[in-house]
C-alpha cells in the first residue's frame, strides 16, 4: 500500500493523516516535500497521524527526524500521533521515542 497524506486544519494546527509505507523511494520523499510545503505556507504546528502507517524503514525514520528538527528549527513543533505497535517498537529501539513528542489522543496532541 503506497503512501498517502490528507490534511485537516484544526485551529492553528495541521493534522496530517498519513497511511501506507514511509520507505526509501516511496513515502520518504513525499513526507519531506509535505513538511516543506507546510512550512513554506506558514503552517508550523504539525501533527502527523501515523495510525494507518503500516511500515517505516530506516529511511522513513530518518525523514521523521528530519521533519522534527526542521520544524523545530523554524520555531514550530511536529508531533506524532497514534503509533502502531511496529512503529512504536522502532522508535523505542532507536531511542527516538523520548526525542519525539508522541501522543495517542488527538485532543491532547492539539492542546499540549
Amino acid at each position: 500500500m503506497s503512501f498517502k497524506a490528507t490534511a485537516r486544519e484544526i485551529g492553528s494546527a495541521t493534522v496530517m493523516d498519513l497511511s501506507g509505507r514511509i520507505t526509501l523511494g516511496e513515502g520518504s520523499a513525499k513526507l519531506r516535500e509535505m513538511v516543506r510545503d507546510l512550512l513554506n505556507s506558514g503552517h508550523k504546528h504539525i501533527v502527523l497521524n501515523l495510525g494507518d502507517i503500516t511500515y517505516i524503514d530506516s529511511s522513513g525514520i530518518g525523514e521523521l527526524v528530519s521533519g522534527f528538527t526542521t520544524v523545530k528549527g523554524q520555531g514550530g513543533e511536529l508531533k506524532l500521533l497514534n503509533l502502531t505497535k511496529k512503529v512504536h517498537d522502532l522508535l523505542q529501539i532507536t531511542k527516538l521515542f523520548t526525542v519525539f513528542d508522541v501522543h495517542s489522543d488527538e485532543q491532547k496532541a492539539l492542546s499540549s
Binding site: 520507505t23 526509501l24 523511494g25 524503514d57 530506516s58 529511511s59 525514520i61 530518518g62 525523514e63 527526524v65 528530519s66 522534527f68 528538527t69 511496529k86 517498537d89 522502532l90 523505542q92 529501539i93 532507536t94 531511542k95 527516538l96 526525542v99
Partner: protein
C-alpha cells in the same frame, strides 16, 4: 522440511525497485520457512536495509553492478547473505546511532536495525571484494521478546 540445507540464490540489478523485490521474495521465503508475521517483518526489513546499502553504498547505484541475495535454510536457522560489488566496509567504522550526538541524525540506522532484528549479523568481504552482509534468524523462531539492540557480531 528435510534435514538438508535448502538454498535459493537471487541476482538483482542495482535499481531502486530491487529493494522492494528483495523484501517481497524474502517475505515469501520466510513464510515458507514457517516464521510468524512479526518475524517475517523483521527478516524482510533486514534484507530491505541490506539491499538499500548494497544499492547505495556498495554498488553506488551503478547499473552494471549486481546485488547477490542468497537464502540458506536448515533446521536451525535461515541464513541470508547480501553481497554487492563495491569496495566493502568495516563495521568498526560505522557510528553508533544510539550515541547522544547521533540521535538526531537523519541516517545511520540501517545496520542497527539489521542487528536488532536478526539473531546473527556480520559483515564479511565477498570473494569479489564487495561487502557481504551475513545475517541469520533462528528457526523455528525462539526469540519472541522485544527486539534487542545488542551490538554483537
Amino acid at each position: 522440511m528435510s534435514g538438508q540445507t535448502k538454498r535459493i540464490e537471487v541476482t538483482l540489478e542495482t535499481l531502486m525497485e530491487s529493494v522492494d523485490l528483495a523484501e517481497d521474495i524474502t517475505l515469501r521465503v520466510a513464510d515458507a520457512a514457517g516464521f510468524d508475521e512479526e518475524q517475517r517483518y523483521r527478516i524482510g526489513m533486514s534484507v530491505r536495509e541490506g539491499v538499500i546499502n548494497a544499492y547505495q553504498y556498495g554498488n553506488l547505484q551503478s547499473r552494471d553492478r549486481k546485488i547477490f541475495l542468497t537464502f540458506e535454510l536448515n533446521e536451525d536457522k535461515l541464513l541470508i547473505r547480501v553481497l554487492d560489488q563495491g569496495a566493502g566496509f568495516l563495521l568498526a567504522d560505522v557510528p553508533d546511532p544510539l550515541a547522544e550526538e547521533n540521535l538526531l541524525k537523519t541516517s545511520g540506522r540501517g545496520i542497527f536495525l539489521m542487528r536488532a532484528f536478526m539473531d546473527e549479523f556480520s559483515v564479511a568481504r565477498g570473494t569479489n571484494g564487495g561487502a557481504e552482509v551475513v545475517m541469520a534468524k533462528r528457526c523455528p523462531p525462539a526469540r519472541r521478546d522485544a527486539p534487542s539492540a545488542s551490538q554483537e557480531g
